[in-house]
């Protein structure tokens, strides 16, 4: 077969016109860059301060003149710190598991079952999102006091065992599960709980992962309620414990920063592993993170 060669001169593609500076784009990038700096700066300062001696703590240099890991040795060697770390892990994990179960169950019920008052129940649950934690602390405290839950794990955990946000998130995700799946399972002989557990729940695994991260982070960093409900040092969670580095006359900032740096590590790891689920969860729920 004859091949018709195109002359090389004809094949030369004209160079694209030089790109003009796009000022709008540049301003956007600058704003994003500034926003990034504002968010990263405290983290960078925290990490920097955790390897500084007290004398240069308030210098603005990020790289210390004499870096040291003494602060880490001291914090990690403190038995109270290990206890607080353990408390935080235990509480955040249990509350997360509870939320995964109950938020999903309620979200599924509100999404897939038709019953009188369903909408009112949903609105009532959602409306609790509008009440700030600071306002809820008093009734929580009164409740804890009456039931003898002050200074106990249950006292710290009970307000967060189920959340309106989690219920809403899970309900939104269950909307994406076609009813055919559930009906097929119904015909196959599963009872309603088995359908929820064996069919519906595995289909919303990304939502569960997102919810797990939200709840875990929220409880890991919770401060006000654990501070109020705990009395003994042994019951402190990590954020409350770090606060105890500040005594009446002075604050051991390098210790606070070191403790905070250690406390940040698990959350960073969790976030890095599951960040795609968080993004999907935020998109699905139509909420800001």
């Amino acid at each position: 077969m004859a091949v018709i060669e195109t002359p090389i001169a004809d094949r030369v593609v004209a160079a694209p016109p030089p790109r003009r500076a796009n000022w709008g784009q540049m301003i956007r990038w600058l704003l994003l860059f500034a926003g990034g700096i504002v968010m990263v700066a405290p983290l960078a300062y925290m990490l920097s301060a955790s390897i500084k001696y007290p004398y240069e703590l308030f210098d603005l240099n990020l790289i210390p003149k004499e870096p040291t890991f003494d602060n880490y040795r001291e914090v990690l060697g403190d038995s109270r710190f290990a206890r607080w770390f353990g408390n935080s892990i235990l509480i955040a994990t249990l509350v997360t598991i509870s939320n995964l179960f109950f938020d999903s169950l309620v979200g599924y019920t509100l999404c897939k079952f038709r019953f009188p008052g369903r909408y009112i129940v949903f609105i009532a649950i959602l409306s609790t999102l509008m009440i700030p934690t600071e306002m809820l602390v008093i009734p929580w405290y009164v409740m804890s006091s009456k039931f003898g839950w002050i200074d106990s794990y249950w006292g710290i955990m009970f307000p967060g065992m189920m959340t309106a946000f989690g219920t809403f998130l899970m309900k939104q995700f269950f909307e994406t599960v076609p009813d055919d799946f559930l009906e097929a399972a119904r015909i196959d002989g599963l009872n309603e709980f088995q359908i929820f557990w064996q069919v519906a729940l595995p289909l919303v695994r990304p939502a569960l992962a997102a919810l797990a991260i939200f709840v875990f982070l929220g409880n890991w960093t919770a401060f006000i309620w654990p501070l109020i409900v705990t009395n003994s040092v042994d019951m402190y969670t990590l954020p409350v414990g770090l606060k105890s580095f500040a005594v009446e006359q002075s604050v051991d900032w390098e210790m606070v920063m070191t403790g905070a740096a250690v406390a940040t590590l698990p959350t960073l790891i969790v976030f890095l592993i599951f960040q795609r689920f968080i993004i999907r969860g935020v998109v699905m729920a139509g909420l800001k993170g």
Binding site: P178, D180, F181, E183, A184, A185, R186, I187, D188, G189, L190, V199, P202, L203, R205
Partner: protein, 346 residues
């Protein structure tokens, strides 16, 4: 296997009645297709048989037992859904075996049944795959397998082929037909595709607006439609319906043409395109001008303007008249309907 009887079956959502007292008897081992346009109530009827919708009035009987208040799992039925409803987080093996989850049979028996079902459907080599690694046709076979493995008395199919492409749809249709011939189980199949209905059914139930228009074999509903709705719904392209008035011996069409027919008064004359052949304009009872010709290979569909009315006729595959040609049309078989009610005049 079992018979299915619907007696005055009614469905209401609030004050709106969507199914108006349906009566239908399905014989043991029969393949019945419910067909009709969207919103005619065919899927609602099927879901009521399955127990997925409550019955507002009337009864559903399966195997001679009224099952209105029986749970879906206890009705001895299996259902194949439009979007397959196979679980994406389970392998093909687990999906097929899911139907046996609550069955009181040994593990060995379960495994044996899964293998046998997979073999019947040609899915043995895919048993350990996840649905995401299967084609649309294979997924549909898994859905059918999950229904088959339970060995139910009645199979319910809810538009199972509508998500497949044309070629796969034909292929799967044939497989379903073969499967029914082999198993002999009662099948109720819902579709909006009249070709599926014609090719699969022992009997077709044509529905419109929550009521049954006609029940009959494919041949009956095609050759003796009960009314103009059935006449136009069954057959592609649709039957031509031409207004005419009869004097007892001749039917005079609006175009002025007269064709032999014994009806009296205002009627609609139904002529299927394949019963209307082009011929010499001088000798044919109807004349018209070809507007459009659609060659289909074996035949050519001719869209003909007959005194302002568009009529579809069937011409030969080769050498058919083209647009602009004036042709004569000679009807072979006529279907006469009452002009007011649309019911057939026999």
């Amino acid at each position: 296997m079992a018979t299915v009887s619907l007696n005055k079956l009614t469905k209401r959502y609030g004050k709106t009645e969507v199914l108006h007292g349906i009566d239908l008897d399905i014989a043991d081992g029969e393949f019945v297709v419910l067909v009709g346009p969207s919103g005619c109530g065919k899927s609602t009827t099927l879901r009521m048989i399955a127990g997925l919708e409550d019955v507002s009035d009337g009864t559903v009987e399966i195997g001679g037992r009224v099952v209105n208040r029986v749970e879906p799992k206890d009705r001895d039925i299996a259902m194949v859904f439009q979007n397959y409803a196979i679980y994406p987080h389970m392998s093909v093996r687990r999906n097929i075996g899911f139907g046996l989850k609550t069955a009181k049979i040994s593990k060995e028996e379960k495994a044996k049944r899964i293998e046998a079902t997979a073999e019947t459907l040609g899915m043995t080599q895919y048993l350990d795959r996840k649905p995401s690694a299967l084609s649309g046709g294979q997924r549909q076979r898994v859905a059918i397998g999950r229904a088959m493995v339970r060995q139910p008395s009645v199979f319910l199919f809810d538009e199972p082929l509508s998500n497949l492409d044309a070629q796969l749809r034909t292929q799967t249709r044939i497989e379903i037909k073969k499967l029914h011939q082999r198993l002999g189980t009662t099948v109720i199949f819902v579709t909006h595709d009249q070709v599926e209905a014609m090719t699969l059914a022992d009997r077709i139930v044509i529905m419109k607006d929550g009521a049954i228009m006609q029940i009959g074999t494919p041949s009956e509903v095609y050759h003796s439609p009960a009314n103009t709705f059935v006449a136009r719904f069954i057959g592609a392209p649709s039957m031509n319906l031409l207004p005419a008035s009869g004097d007892g011996s001749n039917l005079r069409l609006a175009s002025g043409a007269a064709i032999p027919g014994s009806a009296r008064g205002d009627v609609l004359v139904g002529i299927r395109p394949e019963d209307l052949h082009p011929g010499d304009p001088a000798s044919a009872p109807m004349q018209g001008k070809v507007i459009l010709a659609e060659p289909l290979g074996a035949e050519t569909l001719l869209y003909v303007d007959v005194a302002g009315a568009e009529v579809i006729a069937s011409g030969p595959g080769q050498g058919a008249p083209g647009p602009g040609d004036v042709i004569g049309l000679s009807p072979v078989t006529l279907h006469i309907f009452d002009a007011e009610t649309g019911t057939a005049i026999r």
